[in-house]
């Protein structure tokens, strides 16, 4: 299909949690998306470049190991600089060290430039309908 939307997927920073990433890849593919999976240990630069190169419709960032807060700072700015500042961007996983009040975490990451923020026990089926809606499909 020509109309397939492209997602760039990856686990940011020094994070190596690979299992959720693998499942998301398979699930998004099965849901009809074109998935560019950068895997684990992905830098901000790699996200930006991949999004540019593939003309992506959305970036799906994972962070499981707790350093997400540090790792994503400046990502939205880098996207703006690259001229794709308004690309849709989701994040999910264990976004901070320890367990904090979810609404605080959500807020923090929205301010860091994410359109949607997902807690750890999120299943692919919890995300796909929203993603379709946000992408207008």
């Amino acid at each position: 299909m020509e109309s397939k939307k492209t997602l760039v997927l990856g686990v940011i920073g020094s994070d190596v949690h690979a299992v959720g990433n693998k499942i998301l890849e398979v699930s998004f593919q099965e849901a009809g998306f074109n998935v560019v999976n950068l895997g684990v240990l992905v830098s901000q630069k790699e996200f930006v470049e991949a999004a540019l190169e593939t003309n992506a419709d959305a970036i799906m960032v994972s962070s499981l190991y707790g350093h997400g807060e540090i790792d994503v700072r400046g990502l939205r700015e880098a996207l703006i600089e690259a001229g794709i500042g308004d690309i849709l961007m989701y994040i999910g996983g264990y976004l901070v060290v320890g367990s904090q009040e979810w609404s605080e975490v959500e807020n923090k990451f929205k301010q860091l430039g994410f359109d949607r923020v997902y807690p750890p026990s999120t299943l692919p089926e919890d995300v796909i309908p929203t993603l379709r809606a946000d992408l207008g499909i």
Partner: protein, 484 residues
């Protein structure tokens, strides 16, 4: 880079490399081996990890050890003391943060500073390199049980230099187990060689009469890793370590969840390790075992998590592991507080104590389970050695290239990733596809039959969906990911 071998490194020839390593961060200058030896020799035996493990093995009991690490020294010391005094931990850890694991000491420094400023840990562990020798010693001295460095670092040379000099008496990791699950682009030749450095350093301590316990990381990716795969890695890392002079070795295995398979795995681990070490003439190594409570996704609910933790404790005790690494009821929620961490230890200790005089009965099914693990592991190891033409290090590199060793869900690009594990109808971890694992027909038929049996019970053809279901299963309150 010269072709890798499993031969013992020449300590004198390491001089130059050591200088480079120690120059990797300012605290490297604090390392003074003579001073380190003095410090270790002055430590009372009850603070030596290997001594404590050997004693537990002798007594036939299972010790409990948590995972724990926060950024700043005062908080980390407080945390460990709490786990020791209120949790009753028999052994302590110092879990290292993820920046240090990737040798990003600047980022670790930033995280440390910010943690101190904000009064909460922004790092997921203790940046021991940044803290340096003197600070780490203060930690070691303030504890009354042995403490180990636990991390996930492909190149852990500087971390080893600093923490061993600081008086830590145990060091986790290995060239496979701290690369394949923890890195993406680090060649095995490199990580194997970097870990030979660490093992040679430990060997050098041993030459001074100082026992440093070494522990390959058993569970690998923690997600449906069949015993033969993790046993193969553990035994190879054990051989590679012993070749460099390591004398106190703790081999690990992560709970799969079927009690019989878990007990068989623990029983076979020592048998196989002794066999393969002996074949290399490595006979003066003290081998103990570590069982990891379920390393995959946990239930969110604390009460349910306590159930998973207890079952892990039960398997450890019935399999007579020398120690068990304890999870916490907040495993699925985030890094635990010290209180929650101590709860995990106490639950585990209750189970260990209640089962310590009990045995898992010898029986035919168990013997079969052992036989399967032994055959599979031998097939993997023998092929590895063949590929290496008698050299375990070279063999390992080639075995991974060929998919002869293959860890499921590993992020490393040097891992073939062609196997697909899934649970059978009793919940034991089997292979839906074994990729290039060098299994003979008998073993292949065994796995096929086991998965066919489950498929029949669930009225579906085994597929990747089954694997996904199994990954979520324990988190969703069951062992086997049956269709709803």
């Amino acid at each position: 880079m010269a072709e890798i071998t499993h031969n013992k490194l020449d300590w004198q020839e390491l001089k130059g490399e050591r200088e480079e390593v120690l120059a990797g961060w300012v605290t490297g200058q604090e390392v003074d081996l003579e001073d380190a030896f003095r410090f270790h020799k002055a430590l009372p035996p009850h603070l030596n990890f290997g001594v404590r493990m050997a004693q537990a093995k002798e007594e036939g009991v299972t010790l409990a050890q948590p995972r724990a690490g926060v950024a700043d020294l005062a908080s980390h010391t407080k945390l460990l003391k709490y786990l020791q005094d209120e949790g009753g931990a028999d052994l302590l850890p110092t879990t290292i943060d993820s920046y240090t694991r990737q040798n990003r000491y600047e980022e670790a420094e930033k995280g440390l500073e910010e943690s101190v400023r904000e009064g909460r840990s922004l790092l997921n562990g203790f940046p021991a390199v940044n803290h340096g020798v003197a600070n780490c010693r203060r930690l070691v001295e303030s504890l009354s049980v042995p403490v180990q460095v636990r991390h996930g670092t492909p190149d852990a040379r500087l971390l080893a230099e600093i923490t061993l000099a600081a008086g830590f008496t145990a060091y986790e990791g290995g060239g496979i187990s701290y690369n394949i699950p923890y890195a993406k682009r680090v060649p095995l030749e490199k990580s194997l060689r970097d870990w030979q450095y660490v093992d040679r350093l430990v060997g050098y301590y041993e030459e001074q009469g100082i026992t440093i316990n070494r522990e390959p990381f058993g569970p690998l990716t923690g997600t449906l890793v069949a015993p033969s795969v993790s046993h193969s890695v553990a035994i190879i890392e054990g051989i590679l370590a012993a070749k460099q002079g390591v004398k106190s070795l703790t081999l690990g295995y992560g709970q799969c969840g079927n009690l019989m398979q878990d007990v068989a795995a623990l029983q076979t681990l020592t048998i196989l390790a002794e066999e393969y070490l002996e074949a290399e003439g490595l006979t003066d190594v003290e081998i103990t075992t570590v069982f990891h409570q379920w390393m995959g996704g946990f239930p969110n609910d604390e009460a349910r998590a306590f159930g998973v933790i207890s079952l892990g404790g039960a398997a450890a005790a019935l399999g007579k592991a020398t120690k068990v690494i304890v999870k916490t009821p907040h495993e699925a929620l985030g890094v635990p507080t010290k209180e929650v961490n101590a709860q995990g230890i106490r639950t585990t200790k209750q189970v260990l104590n209640m089962l310590k005089d009990q045995v898992y009965p010898e029986n035919e099914q168990l013997a079969l389970e052992r036989e399967i693990i032994i055959q599979e592991t031998r097939q993997i190891l023998d092929k590895t050695l063949e590929l290496g033409k008698g050299d375990w290090a070279l063999g390992t590199v080639r075995a991974f290239e060929a998919g002869v060793i293959d860890v499921p869900f590993a992020p490393s690009s040097f891992n073939a990733g062609r196997t697909m594990p899934a649970r059978d109808n009793e919940g034991a971890v089997r292979f839906l596809s074994w990729g290039n694992l060098p299994f003979n027909k008998e073993i292949q038929d065994f796995h096929r039959a086991k998965l066919a049996e489950r498929g029949k019970a669930e009225k579906r053809t085994p597929s990747f969906q089954m694997v996904i279901d199994d990954i979520y299963a324990i988190g969703q309150g069951k062992l086997i990911g049956r269709p709803r």
